[in-house]
């Protein structure tokens, strides 16, 4: 009897706990039901992941307040203007995160992949409708009631779900060149929509980047990726070379950004201004920074510092030390995501996690590379920290998905 009970318990723990079991407190005649609190536990909870995410979100709010209070006070008469809105989005995101983590099995999403894909594409197209609205010179938002949504952010999570599902559907066919092309090509329409409709090249690139990373993990071998990397590098080099030698900065904003990147000082009054000011912020912060709230550069010198330049203010106020701490926190986050992906109960869960990991990694790397002028200014935000309601909600939702996957890890 005792042995039997032990065996049954083990069985229960190994098996993913169906969602409906959580509600059955009265249970059946089986004695084990009396131990319901243990059996209907949340499963594996990666507290390191959770703490890291909370740390980043709260730290982000603090830094956002510090960074944006000047502009908020100046433009809206309320220093907490930005942080209030971000706090609301973060709270909503946290609720969504927990809901998704305890929601029905993530595997259900496999069936929702195509609708999610179409839904996100539809949302992007809605920007063209009267629901869309323009801010800061770009039409990227949907106004639904009092909420504003950036469809590109929704598209990223939808793409992760869709591509993870696609890997499973394609099975072995994915390993061929044709499979590669199909896989990447299926992400392309959404990326193009993001680029063409919302004029948001960076989000489009992130979508494609996520696709490449998921493909990289989902297919064996390195040669093709090395070849793709080489070809990509060559293309980038060629384009940059062309821009630096033949292009006129007045032709295109993107050309101008590349030119400014190559020689910040010469473009310091125009395109290069923001990045140069960000470098001044980082440099002037020194090792330990000027102290929280003491940034000078946020006071009008770095335009919209709370968006994609917030990392430079972190460095200015908290120094190289603070900047490296943020990088280490993201490193921890990605490490936990890798652990979860490696231990996920199935391929779909792993790929979902890989997608989230890729998404966060790309944004962190590109964002910091921009503020340190390693790449031209792209307008990519720092996950969990930069101002942007849709972004933080969707990023927390992605973490919620990962937690849903993690819950089902056999321990």
């Amino acid at each position: 009897m005792t042995g039997n009970a032990v065996r049954k318990t083990k069985e229960e723990v190994r098996r993913p706990v169906p969602f409906r079991l959580l509600k059955t407190k009265d249970g059946g005649a089986d004695g084990s039901v009396r131990r319901a609190p243990r059996r209907i536990s949340l499963g594996y909870v990666d507290y390191s992941l959770l703490l890291t995410v909370f740390f980043l979100a709260i730290f982000g709010l603090i830094m956002l307040f510090s960074t944006s209070s000047y502009e908020g006070g100046l433009k809206f008469g309320d220093p907490a203007f930005f942080v209030k809105r971000q706090l609301a989005a973060t709270l909503f995101g946290v609720v969504l995160m927990f809901a998704l983590s305890i929601a029905p099995d993530y595997r259900m999403l496999q069936h929702l992949a195509v609708p999610a894909y179409l839904f996100s594409a539809g949302l992007i197209l809605l920007v063209l409708s009267p629901l869309g609205y323009e801010a800061n010179g770009a039409r990227r938002w949907l106004k639904i009631g009092s909420m504003s949504v950036q469809p590109a952010e929704v598209a990223k999570i939808a793409m992760i779900v869709f591509l993870a599902s696609l890997v499973l559907s394609m099975k072995g066919k994915i390993v061929t060149w044709k499979g590669f092309a199909f896989f990447l090509g299926s992400a392309l329409p959404v990326a193009l929509l993001i680029y063409k409709v919302t004029k948001n090249l960076s989000s489009a690139c992130i979508v494609m980047g996520i696709a490449v990373i998921m493909l990289f993990v989902a297919t064996p071998g390195y040669k093709r990726f090395a070849a793709m990397a080489a070809a990509g590098s060559a293309a980038v080099f060629g384009i940059v070379y062309y821009i630096l030698h033949y292009a006129d900065p007045s032709d295109s904003m993107r050309f101008a950004r590349v030119l400014a990147w190559s020689d910040l000082e010469s473009y310091s009054s125009g395109t290069g201004y923001q990045t140069l000011q960000a470098l001044y912020a980082i440099g002037s912060g020194g090792i330990f920074g000027k102290g929280l709230g003491e940034s000078i550069q946020k006071t009008g010198f770095i335009p919209e510092a709370q968006n994609d330049m917030i990392f430079s203010i972190i460095c200015e106020e908290l120094g190289l030390f603070g900047g490296l701490c943020v990088i280490i926190m993201f490193f921890l986050l990605l490490w936990r995501l890798m652990i979860i992906a490696n231990n996920a109960p199935d391929l779909f869960g792993s790929l979902l996690t890989v997608g989230v990991m890729g998404h966060i990694a790309i944004q962190v790397i590109l964002n910091i590379a921009v503020v340190t002028n390693l790449v031209p200014n792209t307008g990519i935000t720092l996950p969990f920290i930069s101002y942007g309601g849709s972004a933080v909600v969707m990023q927390l939702a992605e973490i919620g998905l990962v937690m849903n996957v993690a819950r089902r890890i056999k321990t």
């Binding site: 000047y70 006070g73 709230g293 946020k298 006071t299 010198f301 190289l320």
Partner: protein
Amino acid sequence: MAGEGGKKKPKFAVWMRKKLVVLFLIVLLAFAGLGVRLYFIVRDNSEAYKRQVLSQQQYDSRTLVARRGRIMDANGTTLALSERVYNVILDTEALLEKEEYLEPTIAALVSKFDVDAQTVRSYIATHPESRYYVLRRTLPYEQITAFRDLTNEESENYDPLITGVWFEESYRRTYPNGSLASSVVGFTTSDGNGLYGLEEYYNDTLSGTAGREYGYMGDDSNPEYTVIPAVAGNAIVSTIDGNIQSIVERNLREFNDAHENEWRHADGAHNIGCIIQNVNTGEILAMADYPDFDLNDTQNPEPLYGRPMVNEYGNYVRDALYEYTYLTPELLSTLDNDLLMQQYNALWRNFTISDTYEPGSVAKPFTVATGIENGNIQGNEWYECNGYLHVGDYEIFCHNVAGHGSLNVSKGIEVSCNVAMMHIGNAIGVETFTKYQNVFNFGLRTGVDLAGEARTQDLVYSADEMRETELATSSFGQGFNVTMIEMITAFSSLINGGYYYEPHLVRRIVSDSGATVRNIEPRVLKQTVSQATSDRIRLYCNAAVLGEEATGKTARPAGYLIGGKTGTAETLPRHLKKWYVVSFLGYAPADNPQIAIYVVVDRPNAADQEYARYATYITRNILTEVLPYLGIPMTETLTDEERAELEEMRAHPYEIYNVPIEGTGGEDGDSGANALPDDLGGAGEAGEGD
């Protein structure tokens, strides 16, 4: 779990895990690269960027203009005050924040401030980031209220679309009495600094301390402002009595009008100056020169017309025949800007302190005082005047070339005998004479509290330079130069018992709130002569007005006894015998002097200029009004003749200036006319305009 639902689930294969680890390592590498990049930025550029960040700081700070203090006359009448006015400032960047702001704002600007819409538009187009552009300057409050109403949220005319316009507070200096005491008060430049007169001399007192508004980052990174308020300047209360000043100015103007274009097509004289001083305090009660000018409109060319033209050094322009050039509208229009400014400077300067001239016979009481004070003469000496005296290689004439005959010291003053003075000067000797010139402050600045007092040190002879001829001419006031303020201040000491008071025009400095900051008390600088000498000189000077043959008879106002001395001085070159500076230096009442008065008519516009009556008439007219005003009672019974004269004066106050001077005989012809040989110059050869 395997086999649950009977379907094998694809697993995350080992090679996938490996690839994921590879991916993670790539990311790690990228993170490390970013960290290294951050480290290098901080290591290599920390100091430079810190400096750069600080140098970019332009804490928004704004100077708050302090209200300049008032200038009041002795009665509390305001001579100068600063009114609050507003500059209309356009902030293009704020205006262009939303497109819908543009049109309503421009429309409002055009309708409320009468600005040219086209100008504003083109400015906005060319300067989209400008934050400070002055649309209109110095508008009084009433003119901005209409626009303010549009931007005031509580007003019913409020239009939220009107933006990007604000008002900068400023002050405008105004002079409610226009030209009253113009060269005494002075004026201010557009940036608020005093120019000429009290405005310049008391600039620091009047200007106050500018405040500042600092923008800085508050604790919660709010832009905050600290205001160090401007401290309004102190007001000054002048000793000038606006009533006396107007009486004086009116008389100078009437004199000018009577003689304008009489001989030359020009003003009534090159300069007419008058100072009235309290002999017992040194306070200046009135100080005026003609022509005056409107302090609210200093660059109005009107007062320039008829004035002798000056060159780029400020000296009068004279042709080969020593004729002056007089300014006309046509001539003015041909002048370049620098030369035009010189004409204005000549107008704005205060003749009574800035111009020097040879005093002539008004210096004679000083010569006598020097002699008596030192015991060189006793006062009972008799001299023989044959009409000239041979001094050195020259024959120096008396103005009465027929000679005064035998006369004593008192008579010498009364008839203004040059020969008697030369004898006295000879008795005094060069050493004592020059020493006493110094005692009387000739050649030194008086320290009067006005900007622009002339330096006369090189314009009197030093003991080394003075030979017997120079001593002789100096004894009757030729050959050295003085300013009016020097002369009257020294004369006051001569008749008040010897107390040399520092002349001053400001009695009190008052704070903005009305509290007295400083009282300027009368200050005795030195004792020039003894009481006894002073009493003697007063007797002589009384005789010079009241005596039988007195040259200054015509200066006496009906009903009063006054003393004084006339003066007529040749100007250089002497051989012309054409251009004279005539004057009267006197005091009233004769027995107990309260005020001293000095009137100088510099080259009256007349063919025959050598008559002191040009000055004595002015003196008499002024005193006739001023003495009753000062509450000094008449001491003499009026004769019927005088009564009629007073009646006549009340009816036609300035008729006297139209009385022809030449026909009335030579009783006041006391000048150095014919006195000096042509080649006898003056100390330093200084003429006018220095």
